[in-house]
C-alpha cells in the first residue's frame, strides 16, 4: 500500500492529463482521425501544427488502406497461394505502419516533446484514438 501512495505521489505531478483524438467515421470505416483541435492543448501547441500532424497521419493510413492495382495484385497472389504468402511476406499495411511509427517518433522528438507532450501511436490503442499525454510543466523534478 505504501508503494501505491508513492506511485500516486510520483504519478500525478508527472502526467497532468491525456487528450484523446477520436476517429472520424464520416467516410466510412477507413482509418481517419478527427482534426478538431482539443481545447486542452491550446496553451501548449499551435492549432495548425496539430492539424498538420493529424492530417499527415490520416494520409498515411489512407495510403495503407488504399485500394489500387498493387493491393489487388497482392490480394490475388495471396488468394492463389491460399494466403500462405502472408507467412513469408510483410504486407503493404505493415510497411506503412512502420512508416507511421517513424513519423510519430519524429514528430515527438521535434515538436511534441519540447512542449511537454507525447503522442502515442494509434496502433497501440487499437487504432481507436490518438492519445496525447500532457506532462506537467516542472522545472525541477523533486520526485517525491
Amino acid at each position: 500500500m505504501a508503494e501505491t501512495h508513492s506511485l500516486q505521489d510520483l504519478q500525478q505531478p508527472a502526467v497532468s492529463s491525456k487528450v484523446f483524438v477520436q476517429r472520424d467515421y464520416s467516410s466510412g470505416t477507413i482509418c481517419r482521425f478527427q482534426t478538431k483541435f482539443p481545447s486542452e492543448l491550446e496553451s501548449r501547441l499551435d492549432k495548425q501544427q496539430f492539424e498538420e500532424t493529424i492530417q499527415a497521419l490520416n494520409n498515411l493510413y489512407a495510403e495503407a488502406e488504399k485500394l489500387g492495382g498493387k493491393s489487388y495484385l497482392e490480394g490475388c497472389l495471396a488468394c492463389l497461394t491460399a494466403y500462405t504468402i502472408f507467412l513469408c511476406m510483410e504486407t503493404h499495411y505493415e510497411k506503412v505502419l512502420k512508416k507511421i511509427a517513424r513519423y510519430i517518433k519524429d514528430q515527438n522528438e521535434k515538436i511534441y516533446a519540447p512542449r511537454g507532450l507525447l503522442l502515442t501511436d494509434p496502433i497501440e490503442r487499437g487504432l481507436r484514438v490518438v492519445e496525447v499525454t500532457i506532462f506537467e510543466d516542472r522545472s525541477i523534478g523533486s520526485g517525491r
Binding site: L7, L10, Q11, Q12, S26, A78, E94, L97, G116, G143
Partner: protein, 474 residues
C-alpha cells in the same frame, strides 16, 4: 537489463532457517522462486479466447464443431483418394487426383487460417480512454447503477449510422463492429460466429472464410462427380449399382456425405458471394440494417456501388494488422501483480503509460530531453520492476542514465516493436507472428458491469485468465 528486476533467490538462502527475504515489493510474497519471466499479452487477454503456440494461434473458447469439420473433410478426401482415384486414373485421366489434391490442400489451409487467425478483435479501451468517454457522456458523475444504453450518431456517406456503446469493452463500437458474446470480444466488421470453424468471422479472416467455403464447395462437388462417375463406370455392363457399391464401399460413404453437404455448402457460398458483391455482412443482412425495412430511404453506406470494386475491397484489400498484440510482452512485473485488485486509477494509468513511457523516454533520452521528463516519467516504469519504493526517487536522481537506459531499455526491448528483437525466440520463429507482434499495451481490464450479452452474468466473472484484474474505474 536485470538492474530493475527481481534478484534471483539464492537456493542456499532458502534452505537456511533464517533466509533473507528477497528484495521485492512488499505487497505480496512472491510465489515463484525463479525470476519472473516476462509475460506475454495473450496470457492476460480479457476475452474468451484460447491461445496456442505461445500466442501464435488464437481460437474461440469453444472449438465448436471444428474437429468434426476437419474430420469430415479428411475422411471424405481420404476415402476418395483410396477408393476412387485408382479406378479413375486407370479408366479416365490422372488429372483427377491432382485436381483433388490441390482442392484438398486449399480447403485445409484456408480452414486452419480461418480458425486460427484473429478475426479483427478490438482491444478493450484503456482505463484513461474509458474515463474520458465516460466524462463526455455522463456528467452527473453517478455511476452506481448501469446507465441506459448509450448511442452516438455519425453521418457516413450521407447515411445516419448509430454507434452503440459497448459496456464490456468500454468504448463506442466503430461502425460494423459487433460484440461476440461467445468470444467476449468486439470484432471489426463482424460477420458471424461460425461453430464449424470454431471462431468468429470478421474483417481479418473473412477472405479466408470465403475462400474456404468456395473451395470446399468445389471439392465437394468434384468428389461427388467423381464418385458418381466411378460408380457408373463400375455398374456398366449390366452389373448394377449394388455390385458397384459392394466393390467400392468407401464410395458409398462419400456419396452420402457429399450429397448432403453439397447443397448446404453451395448455398452458403452463393449467399456469401452475394454478400461480398454488395459489401454486406451476415450480421447486417440478418438484421436488415440497410434493406429499408423501416421505410426510410436507407442504402448501404459502405458499398462502392460497383460489384467488382465491392468484391475487390472485401477480398483483395490490404490485409489489416492484428490490433491485439498477442505476443508482445507485458511491462515487466505488472504480470505478477495479481494483488492489484485494489489499485487505483493512477496506478492503472501507469501500465498504459509504460509503453508510452518506454518508447517516448527512450527517444527523448537519446535527444537529451527535458530533465523533468527524465526524472518523472521513468519512475512510472521503475516501480513496476519491483524496486522498493523509497529507493525509486533517490535511485533516479542519483543515477539516472544507466538505470534509466537499462530499466527502460529492458521494458523497451521487452515490449518493443517487432523491429527491435525481443529477448525471446520470436524473431527466429515464423514470420506469421510479425502480423501479431505489433506493439500495443493490452489492458487486462475486468469490467465491473455486465457485458451486453444476456447469457453472461454481471460483475467480474472468473475468466480464468492470469494477470491483473483491476478495480472499477471509479
Amino acid at each position: 537489463m536485470k538492474n530493475c528486476e527481481y534478484q534471483q533467490i539464492d537456493p542456499q538462502a532458502l534452505s537456511t532457517p533464517t533466509p533473507t527475504p528477497p528484495p521485492h515489493q512488499g505487497d505480496e510474497p512472491e510465489k515463484k522462486t525463479e525470476p519472473k519471466r516476462p509475460k506475454r499479452k495473450w496470457e492476460v487477454f480479457p476475452g474468451k479466447n484460447r491461445f496456442y503456440c505461445d500466442g501464435r494461434i488464437i481460437v474461440a473458447r469453444q472449438s465448436g464443431v471444428l474437429p468434426l469439420t476437419v474430420g469430415l473433410i479428411l475422411v471424405t478426401s481420404g476415402l476418395f483418394f483410396i477408393f476412387d482415384c485408382p479406378f479413375l486414373v486407370k479408366h479416365l485421366t490422372s488429372c483427377i487426383p491432382v485436381i483433388g489434391g490441390v482442392l484438398f490442400v486449399f480447403v485445409i489451409i484456408t480452414l486452419l487460417q480461418t480458425s486460427f487467425t484473429d478475426p479483427g478483435i478490438l482491444p478493450r479501451a484503456t482505463p484513461d480512454e474509458a474515463a474520458d468517454i465516460e466524462k463526455q457522456i455522463d456528467n452527473t458523475g453517478n455511476t452506481s447503477y448501469r446507465p441506459p444504453p448509450r448511442t452516438k450518431e455519425v453521418l457516413i456517406n450521407q447515411q445516419v449510422v448509430k454507434l452503440k456503446y459497448c459496456f464490456t469493452c468500454k468504448m463506442f463500437r466503430p461502425p460494423r463492429t459487433s460484440h461476440c458474446s461467445l468470444c467476449d470480444n468486439c470484432v471489426e466488421r463482424f460477420d458471424h460466429h461460425c461453430p464449424w470453424v470454431g471462431n468468429c468471422v470478421g474483417k481479418r479472416n473473412y477472405r479466408f472464410f470465403y475462400t474456404f467455403i468456395v473451395s470446399l464447395s468445389f471439392l465437394t462437388a468434384f468428389i461427388f462427380g467423381c464418385v458418381t462417375t466411378h460408380l457408373a463406370l463400375r455398374a456398366q455392363g449390366g452389373k448394377g449399382l449394388v455390385f458397384a457399391l459392394q466393390e467400392s464401399p468407401g464410395s458409398a460413404v462419400e456419396l452420402v456425405i457429399c450429397f448432403f453437404s453439397v447443397w448446404s455448402i453451395l448455398g452458403l457460398s452463393g449467399f456469401h458471394t452475394y454478400l461480398v458483391a454488395s459489401n454486406l455482412t451476415t450480421n447486417e443482412d440478418i438484421k436488415g440494417s440497410w434493406s429499408g425495412k423501416s421505410g426510410e430511404d436507407v442504402t448501404n453506406p459502405y458499398s462502392h456501388k460497383n460489384i467488382f470494386i465491392n468484391c475487390c475491397s472485401v477480398l483483395c484489400a490490404p490485409m489489416p494488422p492484428s490490433l491485439i498484440d498477442r505476443r508482445g510482452f507485458l511491462p515487466a512485473d505488472e504480470s505478477a501483480q495479481t494483488g492489484g485488485t485494489d489499485i487505483e486509477l493512477p496506478t492503472l494509468a501507469t501500465k498504459s503509460e509504460i509503453n508510452v513511457c518506454t518508447q517516448g523516454t527512450k527517444g527523448l533520452l537519446e535527444s537529451a530531453a527535458l530533465p523533468p521528463l527524465l526524472s518523472t516519467s521513468c519512475p512510472q516504469g521503475k516501480p513496476q520492476t519491483a524496486h522498493p519504493c523509497p529507493d525509486i526517487s533517490p535511485a533516479v536522481n542519483s543515477d539516472p542514465s544507466p538505470e534509466l537506459s537499462t530499466g527502460c531499455g529492458a521494458h523497451h526491448r521487452a515490449s518493443s516493436h517487432r523491429d527491435a528483437s525481443p529477448p525471446r525466440h520470436t524473431k527466429t520463429r515464423s514470420k506469421k507472428c510479425k502480423r501479431a507482434a505489433l506493439h500495443i499495451p493490452n489492458p487486462a481490464f475486468d469490467a465491473p458491469v455486465s457485458p451486453t450479452s444476456p447469457d453472461t452474468g454481471p460483475g467480474s466473472k472468473g475468466r480464468g485468465h492470469k494477470g491483473a484484474s483491476f478495480a472499477p474505474l471509479h
